[in-house]
Symmetry: C2
Amino acid sequence: MPIYKAPTRDTRFVINEVLQLEQFSQLPGFENAGADMVDAVVEECGKFASEVLAPLNLSGDQQGCTRNADGSVTTPAGFKEAFRLYQEAGWGTLSSPVEFGGQGMPHLLGFVVEEYVATANHAFGMYPGLTAGAVSAILSKASPDLQAKYLHKMVTNQWLGTMNLTEPQCGTDLGLIRTRAVPNIDGSYAITGTKIFISAGEHDLTENIIHLVLAKTPGAPESSKGISLFIVPKIMVDDDGSLGARNAVTCGSLEHKMGIHGNATCVMNYDGATGWMVGEENKGLAAMFIMMNAARLGVGIQGLAQAEVAYQNAVRYAQDRRQGRALTGPAEPQEKADPLFVHPDIRRMLMDAKAFTEGMRAFYLWGGLLVDLSHKAASEEERRLADDMISLLTPVIKGYGTDKGFDTCVQMQQVFGGHGYIEEWGMSQFVRDARIAQIYEGANGVQAMDLVGRKLALNGGRAVQAFFAEVDAACAAVNDKPQLAGLAGQVEKANGELKAATMWFMQNGMTNPNNVGAGAHHYMHMMGIVGLGLMWLKMGAAAIDALAAGTGDKSFYEAKLVTARYFGERFTPDVGALRRKLETGSAAMMELPVEAFATA
Amino acid sequence: MPIYKAPTRDTRFVINEVLQLEQFSQLPGFENAGADMVDAVVEECGKFASEVLAPLNLSGDQQGCTRNADGSVTTPAGFKEAFRLYQEAGWGTLSSPVEFGGQGMPHLLGFVVEEYVATANHAFGMYPGLTAGAVSAILSKASPDLQAKYLHKMVTNQWLGTMNLTEPQCGTDLGLIRTRAVPNIDGSYAITGTKIFISAGEHDLTENIIHLVLAKTPGAPESSKGISLFIVPKIMVDDDGSLGARNAVTCGSLEHKMGIHGNATCVMNYDGATGWMVGEENKGLAAMFIMMNAARLGVGIQGLAQAEVAYQNAVRYAQDRRQGRALTGPAEPQEKADPLFVHPDIRRMLMDAKAFTEGMRAFYLWGGLLVDLSHKAASEEERRLADDMISLLTPVIKGYGTDKGFDTCVQMQQVFGGHGYIEEWGMSQFVRDARIAQIYEGANGVQAMDLVGRKLALNGGRAVQAFFAEVDAACAAVNDKPQLAGLAGQVEKANGELKAATMWFMQNGMTNPNNVGAGAHHYMHMMGIVGLGLMWLKMGAAAIDALAAGTGDKSFYEAKLVTARYFGERFTPDVGALRRKLETGSAAMMELPVEAFATA
């Protein structure tokens, strides 16, 4: 049976010692997020994730969801009760607005909950996972009437929300959707069409489900400029808030997926279902992007999440399993063989995972802080800076985080040898579940294009220049810390490669935009590595300060310094190779005619 | 429904034009392998794989195998009939010895069959797949009596063979096995123990199954020096060759695996089963390595195989699916959207796959030729050279081929976006099936250690020096071909990095062998990339010659030159990064105590 223990010590280290959340205590929403509160939330949530959700992960994968003859969906055994506990404890409401029943705490803390829940049980986490984004869209775009009717129940997770974008003929290119919304005389709309890949589209966890649906009104432009957003409740809500008749929206079937079996991924049929427009006609895509951006950060966290749990189990296996002898001579001669741990290639995989998961945790938590600061920092300048940075980093956290998270799961599965391939050990599930995160909420190629095609050039490159400056400052800031000299040099060099690649895009993208597209994926990975390097510098500095202060926990901080060194040695060299590839441009890539790809 | 069309044109190009098989026609076994015969075998086998085996792949995955109450195993629908056709056509006997019913053709051609069969249906291919290795072990080690009794039926695939190594407590470290073999008075042995992960351990394809089993005789040394090899037939074979009583070996259960569901992976229980020793007592491991080495090359081919079929399906999808517009403006303005093919990031993934699969095909076919030459070349010097080279390259073909093959499957799945995650499209299966190849027949970390710990230093580094010389010669040989100047420079540089890494191992492995272990995986990948670079140089040169000769098929050869250029641009930069990582050694990797990996 796979294990999971929430990495609460590491989370607290990043929040309290690296990001130093207490320095923001004068900002609204931060006043109650002192170190004691952070510690309490982190420990309690960690306990809930490890004790309630993790034990349902493997069984949820094996059982999957069942669509019953009446179109209802039964979730795996235990999910309903676990969700009741989740809802009652308010884990989904931490960073939601107080006026609708939320707790008004920093997003940063909400992100910690997302990490722990997704790590313990990815499929479970997807039920409440999209509701926060739906809430954001309703909050910013829906009429006061709609807000009054839906928000409180959604914020408190009495009802859950969904996102209905994809149709059989389109996913990324939403201009192609065919779902129609025809106005009724009462101001509502009749929605008709088929949506696919709808996570948590139908289930038995809540008494109602609120679908947010993209559709086209009659005569709307053909492109993505003709899309509107609608609220479509599964069960109609009367004006007094009580539940009425069943709406004409049903789950037609469940998808058969590679992983996340415990989540009901539905084909949703809208047969003249009644819906209400959110925001303005033909402006639905903007509203949807509000949901999407929140969701993308969450997906980046999922990449880390599966890597973390896979890593924990691989560490345990590498200690328990004995095969062969250390290259340097028997480590435990009294036993018939040494633990896997003695073998450098096993260590390589575990250290890669350690350097990635800890670095990625710091990276997304910084992202969470930026989200908060973008709304709540004292000056407009600070808010703008934070907003610039998180806009830039969102595709990196999503794309790099999930690519590397998936690779890490595969490596951790490799530690198990043949047993890693057997479902009962759980490693296969981590790999299969992690795989979706590279695909949904915008496949990682879309993230890469969002980064290089939109975010880089925004406001004359203001955001990326700020990122470069942040990294250079972090390198300079450790000047007085010789233990970090190696890492600082490596990160500075990597940052230089990233700057050069940016320049190359500017010089070569004008003549041929394919030159940018051809390097987008590589650029995203370069920025991911530099971003993690930045976090390792900050973590290393915090560790040195703590060691100097003699606050105890010496081995924890010393391990940070060794892992920081390992990161510099084994992650940063890829940045140069990626740059060299990127700077070869698109000529050979785009030259062949389609026929040359046909197999003959 | 996924498609598969055997890449026969590409296979013929490599065999006839790059390796120029006809130049060896004076060697035994090669006389009948002229271009006409090669073409006929390749085309017929391709047809069989595409038309008979590929249509059973997805259904085989969905149905899996069933263990019946009596311990018998039913394979997926269609497998039995397909195997009958396979056996009757003699696809498994191409390169087997004529005296036992084989066709005595070059191994090279047997490898082509392995590729096409594994590509069409990985799980199916594993039934006959291990028999060739079992045959090799029996041929080289078993007594004439045992050979007479078993070889003909096994060579002709009337009976299939298995390899029984792994036990619950050991896989890589076979010194730990517990299965016991107690001598009977008639010279046979009573075998008792449990073996796990036994591919094709039980099935309904053949009337008998011949298990090769590692076990320990009473008083045998505890280590791997105390292992003997036994033949244990499922059904006893009388002296006249007729089948007798059921032996005491049964399938206890089927493993629940991530993939290769169509293959019965069995827990095998030996309850005093009757077996006969193959070769000498306590020398079983050497015999097993004969099976293993043949199998490792076959597994490397499987890495390519799943990448190939995933690539073919991704190419089709990228042509059919329309999303968005080309960055350079609408490519097909009359349609609502352009095909995925116009997007550089889609092209990147497809070109990566094309450069890998075509390069890898050439690499393993060269390996197949080396196997043949190691046995049949005219002079002892040539045989030794070929044997050196294939010994060196076997772990690279297995380890690099399957790592990169798996990654390629994942990228091809990515081309499908959300549909890639849905089982019906078949891309998930390719990923899940490909994953096992990195694990079985020696996990890739074991391959890497075989390469750097054994093969590099053998005979004073004779083999690796020959490899370096071969690469340098190939770079020099294209001096007169300016179209390949870029690639030659890149490969020469990469070869230089590989030489430097080899030197670094020599200088730093003495003081601490962990320095070699810590870089083994990176070294294996470096050599894989350089090896493929070598093949792209040779393919490029052959393409230029063909274009100059005006033999037609111009677009085929021109595509080779573009893909060669792409390979140089996008694959070779990793070699430098891998070297930089490797040369950081093992200090940071091995420094942390075990406790530092515990999650707190």
